[in-house]
């Protein structure tokens, strides 16, 4: 395609500007985290003596191992189970299309725009009655339900695109529904599954509201919820807070960078069919 020099220059300049705006807050956070604890450093100034020890202090102050462990447990409780049940439902609604599939799907879609805050009050009392408040289950179980509208829609959108001939061929070869699902469709769904898995991993890690409302102890919370507690406790010590924030957000960056090719390419293929 023909691209004029001016267009190219303008486009590059725009991109670089946007990237700078995106990255500068991260750099500012990092630089601030290296200043003397208890000070109010200004701007992007590199400290005379970088206090790398802030990271160690923040790690200990937040009891980071316990927080990481808690988040890992919550992730393990949410992501695999959510993937499994959403795939089953998406396969059924998108491919098998049993009687009433439209209504069932519509009921799921109904929850798509539902903000978590709209149901947080009854959810609290429900969890209290189940005696699950302050446990990780109080985060895991509601998330399984709350992810379903998006996850079922995502998987259904994938299965709708699968040609019916594929299943017909498998059926002629004698495959029943279960075999059709596990042998033919699950292997073909890997890209859709992995991007949904990464999305749900990030959403769970970053889940704040449920953690704040339903779990008091930061050591039973998600990472984002724990960061909220950390801010409450150490909010006045800016460098320490910045160091803690960096520690807590770094795993999300690592996961994203590790899987980004998959993730972005899934986006590019238009897997997002909202």
């Amino acid at each position: 395609m023909i691209v004029s020099r001016r267009e190219r220059w303008l486009g590059h300049a725009l991109l670089i500007l946007l990237m700078a705006v995106t990255v500068i807050p991260f750099i500012s956070l990092f630089v601030t985290a290296l200043h003397e604890p208890g000070t109010y450093p200004s701007g992007l100034e590199w400290p005379e003596t970088p206090y790398w020890s802030n990271f160690v202090d923040a790690f200990q102050a937040a009891d980071m191992w316990a927080l990481l462990w808690s988040s890992v447990l919550i992730e393990l409780g949410v992501v695999p189970a959510a993937l499994l049940i959403a795939t089953l439902a998406g396969f059924s609604l998108g491919h098998l299309r049993p009687p009433g599939h439209r209504w069932i799907f519509l009921t799921f879609v109904l929850g798509l725009t539902l903000p978590f805050q709209a149901i947080i009050v009854p959810l609290y009392y429900q969890m209290r009655d189940l005696q699950l408040l302050n446990t990780r289950w109080a985060i895991i179980l509601p998330l399984l339900g709350l992810y379903m509208p998006f996850a079922v829609m995502w998987m259904r959108a994938h299965f709708v695109t699968m040609p019916p001939d594929l299943s017909e061929a498998a059926r002629i070869d004698g495959a029943n529904t279960w075999k059709l699902f596990t042998r033919v469709h699950v292997p073909l769904s890997r890209p859709a599954l992995s991007s949904l898995g990464i999305l749900m991993f990030l959403w769970t890690w970053n889940q704040f509201l449920l953690a704040v409302v339903l779990v008091d102890d930061p050591k039973n919370r998600t990472m984002a919820g724990a960061l909220g507690a950390f801010q409450g406790q150490w909010g006045t010590d800016v460098p320490l807070l910045c160091a803690g924030s960096l520690l807590i957000l770094t795993p999300t960056l690592l996961v994203f960078l590790a899987f980004q090719r998959q993730f972005v390419s899934a986006l590019m293929q238009g897997a997002l069919k909202g």
Binding site: G111, Q117, Q269
Partner: protein
């Protein structure tokens, strides 16, 4: 209904087409098989539906029920009819939170979608260049970090001695510097900047992915017809990414109306309720002042508001198929 379903499986109709003596029997067997598969298929939906019903639909119904009662969460509750709803209009604090949420749409949604559109249209042609590939990663970073962390970062950037003010002093705008999040006239906009920063990458990438799917021949034809870049944008690019725009607007509008994390961290709804949003107010009412009924009434209105804003967007951008 039935006919529409059979068109989904063209092979099957051919089976039933040749008229023979066993036609009736074959049709019955087919029907039975379809029914059996139907039940098996419905069974696959059950696990997802279970969690959805217990942890989403049930609380949803309860929210509506609570909204008609006066309850402090512990003692007995009394039925008060629509009183919680009338108070929504009477109390400026409650109504104000809804107005604030609507205003946040400008920052959380319009700004990133428009900026994303313009940028994507500019970089579309070299979407495969190395810089563009790097930008895909970089611009996505705000989406993957916790909003809480974004809130902490920006609270510091927007503080009195923060980087934003420092830059403004550098370019001679020192006279308007202030604690952006602490001033009643700028706090909501400052919160909006944080939201725009978070959403921009997502919008840009989605729109760009839509634009790379456009047939290049369309642009070549337009060029031959003498269309400029602006005509091209409005005649080809914009209509082609209608669906992606729909996704972006929907996602960001919901994020604006349901804002919680960023506001909780950066302003807690202050100063003087200038950044109070329904999500936060529900939290305060439900868990601090223990006005469960009032919190629920706000939640119901909040839900209806989200639907009232999002459904028209969906209808506008849905492709006719």
């Amino acid at each position: 209904m039935n006919e529409m379903r059979t068109t989904g499986a063209p092979g099957r109709r051919e089976v039933a087409a040749p008229a023979s003596t066993s036609l009736e029997a074959r049709r019955r067997a087919l029907k039975a098989r379809r029914l059996r598969r139907g039940w098996a298929a419905l069974g696959l939906v059950v696990p997802a539906a279970f969690f959805y019903v217990i942890f989403v639909l049930r609380p949803l119904v309860l929210t509506v029920q609570y909204s008609f009662y006066d309850w402090n969460g512990v003692g007995a509750s009394t039925f008060v009819g629509a009183e919680n709803y009338t108070r929504l209009v009477e109390k400026p604090e409650l109504l104000g939170s809804i107005v604030n949420a609507l205003e946040l749409i400008i920052y959380f949604s319009f700004v990133p979608v428009i900026l994303g559109l313009l940028t994507a249209a500019t970089i579309r042609k070299f979407a495969a260049s190395r810089l563009a590939l790097v930008s895909r990663t970089v611009l996505f970073l705000p989406q993957v970090i916790p909003l809480v962390a974004a809130g902490i970062m920006w609270t510091w950037l927007l503080a009195t001695d923060g980087l934003v003010n420092e830059l403004m002093r550098l370019v001679g705008l020192g006279s308007i510097t202030r604690a952006w999040l602490g001033d009643t006239s700028t706090a909501l906009g400052a919160v909006g900047v944080i939201g725009a920063w978070v959403a921009l990458g997502l919008c840009l990438l989605l729109l760009l992915s839509g634009m790379t799917k456009i047939d290049p021949a369309l642009y070549e034809a337009a060029r031959i017809d003498g269309a400029g870049a602006v005509r091209e944008f409005f005649a080809i690019t914009l209509p082609s990414v209608r669906q992606e725009i729909g996704v972006c607007v929907t996602v960001t509008v919901i994020a604006a109306l349901a804002a919680f994390d960023i506001v909780y961290i950066s302003t807690q709804g202050g100063p003087a309720n200038s950044t109070l949003v329904p999500g936060l107010e529900i939290y305060y009412l439900g868990f601090f002042s223990r006005e469960v009924g009032q919190a629920s009434a706000l939640a119901v209105v909040f839900m209806v508001l989200v639907l009232a804003v999002v459904l028209p967007i969906q209808r506008l951008t849905k492709e006719e198929d």
